[in-house]
Symmetry: C2
Subunit: 327 residues, 2 copies
């Protein structure tokens, strides 16, 4: 327990990141001082939003920004006891100390697997919930399109829309994922955009147009959606994964926002902490009743975090990609 590892960015990626852009750096594992705890990573998160940061905000030769679930293994802190699980955003570190700032105690429902708190009951779930219901102002029974609908955020957004009695179309990039969306998640129509051009497929799949497009992709997906939006449609922008690795085409159909008075609005989950209590209550009930289903792709071993992040942009994940470091 005297050593710890960190994932560092050592080179800014060109296009999709490769293993050589990262390094696993071993160093001493500091002991907690008075008022501090020592934490052991349990799960580490890798998410699409990390990619744009690699071009600028993420410092080189420093721990990757990011978060996960950790467990207190030594405590000299007044209120955080040994064994307590916490959520944190303190970076990709195997063991580390904290004075408690940036830690949120996590007391999971014992009937659910802990990994669920990394996705449907975690940041990605709240991203789907807030983006669809608050930014997207979804009304029951509307026409909804979700891109990367088999992803961690998209799969939750699509199923929330189903719970709200909407007609839901999802796009994804493989037949396996499309099949999961059709049969398990119960979407009304699914587009495999690698098998059929998105514009024609979306037109065919949305006979009543689109009221809310939950946007994770950008590029040709956004262009396709812009030709299908209904009056006063909303496009909450969660991400634009098609643009993250360079070389993307521009969006040509933005003029279409004018006649139907479309609103396109970017958002960050961090603005919606006030919804968290209601979200946890709703989502826990939906998961337990089987109305929200999920997939997760778990890589075992701290050192596989770069592989997990790279895999996101190659579509290797079904649902949430996460790294399991310890039980």
């Amino acid at each position: 327990m005297s050593e710890s590892r960190e994932i560092h960015l050592v080179r800014r990626p060109s296009g999709i990141p490769v293993e050589e852009d990262f390094a696993v750096v071993t160093g001493p594992s500091p002991e907690p001082a008075e008022g501090e705890v020592q934490l052991q990573a349990v799960f580490v998160s890798v998410d699409p939003y990390m990619r744009p940061r690699l071009d600028a905000d993420q410092p080189l030769n420093a721990p990757m920004l990011g978060g996960g679930i950790a467990r207190v293994i030594k405590s000299r802190h007044a209120s955080l006891r040994e064994g307590q699980l916490v959520r944190h955003a303190l970076g990709m570190r195997e063991r580390f100390v904290s004075n408690g700032a940036g830690l949120t105690a996590l007391n999971p429902d014992p009937s659910l697997p802990l990994s669920v708190y990394m996705h449907a009951l975690g940041m990605t779930g709240l991203t789907a919930y807030a983006g669809l219901l608050e930014v997207g102002a979804l009304k029951n029974g509307e026409q909804v399109f979700v891109s990367t609908a088999a992803g961690a955020v998209g799969s939750v957004a699509a199923q929330i829309a189903k719970i709200k009695d909407c007609y839901v179309v999802g796009s994804t990039g493989s037949e396996d994922k499309a099949e999961w969306l059709r049969t398990t998640a119960g979407l009304d129509a699914v587009i495999n955009y690698k098998a059929t051009p998105i514009a024609a497929a979306l037109q065919a799949a949305t006979p009543k147009g689109i009221d809310v497009y939950y946007e994770n992709v950008g590029g040709d997906h956004l262009d396709a959606a812009l030709t299908r939006m209904n009056l006063r449609g909303r496009i909450p922008v969660c991400g634009m994964i098609s643009t993250y690795n360079g070389g993307h085409d521009g969006v040509r159909n933005l003029f279409n926002v004018i006649y139907p008075r479309i609103r396109i609005e970017g958002f960050l989950v961090g603005d919606f902490g006030h919804l968290n209590e209601r979200f946890i209550e709703d989502m826990t009930a939906w998961i337990k009743s089987g109305r929200i289903k999920y997939q997760e792709t778990i890589l075992d071993g701290f050192a596989r975090a770069p592989e997990g992040l790279i895999g996101l942009f190659r579509g290797y994940n079904s649902g949430k990609m996460l790294i399991r470091v310890a039980d």
Copy 2:
């Protein structure tokens, strides 16, 4: 008075319209039946929004959709008297009859030229006013960017922002127009995008970023603005003239809506009729006190309407382009 003329679209334009896409068609001037009036066009409007319609909504071999100011020259109508001025959206027609539907009585302030009711006190003025203050939710003292700032809508939007104590940057496509914006309209900074690339010029001109981008252009203007938007910035989309005549590049910086939580929202002036009374009151006062200045480019003669419309896309107008048909 037994003949009248109409402007017809006879061919869908490819790129910027040309004279051959239109025809001036002469026919009989119908007499008003009981309950109808006969109207004589006084001013005919030509506006950028007409261009996208030429590709689809505008019927071929029928009068061009559009509006203007007309005068009642014969009346068999209970409340519309001979000599009454009206606003209408009944198309590009020299003389025509109406049962009153779609006519709005216009009682202009006698101390102002009638032409002002075709722009600053007309639809283009309300477009600027509603787009900036309602859709853009402008607050006093904010940082504002207006594209086509010397145009009919842009020049009003830019000056309203100055009245609201904002820092205002405008873009335009000629040195003459830039000079008018600097010296007469009193903008804080003016970019001639034909002389300097818009992205670098906008960066230099907006040291405190942009809170509201009043969008008339699209394309590289939008891309440039998207890199300069402040937290919770708004982009009311009035038009995207750069896209109207084909061959435009896509917009590549839309990812930038996410981190600063930008809202892009299309709108049509027709949704803001409820503001008209307040608008007329404000704008009349602003014009009379010299706080709103305007330019207008008037072509004399009904048959010059196609020339006027084409000229809009070649930048031949300073301020509002309009056609004078009669005194």
